[in-house]
Amino acid sequence: MTVYDITFYLFALITLGSAFFVVTIRNIVYSAFFLLFTLFGITGLYVLLSADFIAIVQLVVYVGGILVLLLFGVMLTHKITNVQIKSGTLQIIPSAIAVIVLAFALIKIFLSTNWKTFQLTAQNSSVQGLGVLLVNQYSVVFELLGILLLIALIGAASMARR
């Protein structure tokens, strides 16, 4: 067990454990906070995979943007005086069975596949490489995503106003 391994297990535990609470706990606000921990754990995994830029983006966009947006949604769609900000559940048992079976099936498939992997080498920061790719090979995709974000922005604003 190296430090790397310990760190990986730690982050995997944080991720999966809090993800479990996200989907099981009844209080929506708590659930959202556990989602925060899940995202944080995933950020850690990214760092372990030496994807530094993605990790930062994950923090900024998910934690700073999407999570706050979800919390706002919770606040806007429940009366403040209503303490019971809770979500009901349905079809628990068949879902649990289905999901567990699916999980085992997926894991079995992943493990039984002989992935062609390479020896890991130390990697520098990927920011420069990403930047170069973004404006050369993927410039069209980049532009299109920009347009998509703009359209989503306009669409969301106009839909929410109605």
Partner: protein
């Protein structure tokens, strides 16, 4: 010697994926469903980055993850707008009660 291989990451991501599916299927509240979707997207992202790291694909895999994050942001914004509209129409956001499509 690092003992963590690609398989570890794949197991984490598949478990996370299934948890996300579970969330999407079981929760009544639309916002909770959205959280489940975020988990699914993150599971996919972990796969992207892990394959990129172990498969020696350079930075393209990370770029795909980046694009997924951007799409997730757009999706979240649109979904929240839809949720707010649903709230205005039905005064709640429990999707099991929103089944007017059935009739």
């Amino acid at each position: 010697m690092i003992n963590i291989t690609l398989y570890h990451y794949l197991i984490v991501s598949s478990v996370l994926f299934c948890l996300g599916i579970f969330g999407v299927i079981t929760r009544k509240n639309a916002i909770m469903v959205l959280m489940g979707i975020e988990l699914i997207l993150n599971a996919a992202n972990i796969n992207f980055v892990a394959f990129a790291r172990y498969g020696n694909f350079g930075n393209s895999g990370q770029l795909a993850a980046l694009f997924v994050i951007i799409l997730a942001a757009a999706e979240a914004a649109i979904a929240m707008a839809i949720v707010l509209n649903i709230y205005k129409t039905f005064t709640n956001i429990n999707i099991d009660e929103i089944d007017t499509l059935k009739d």
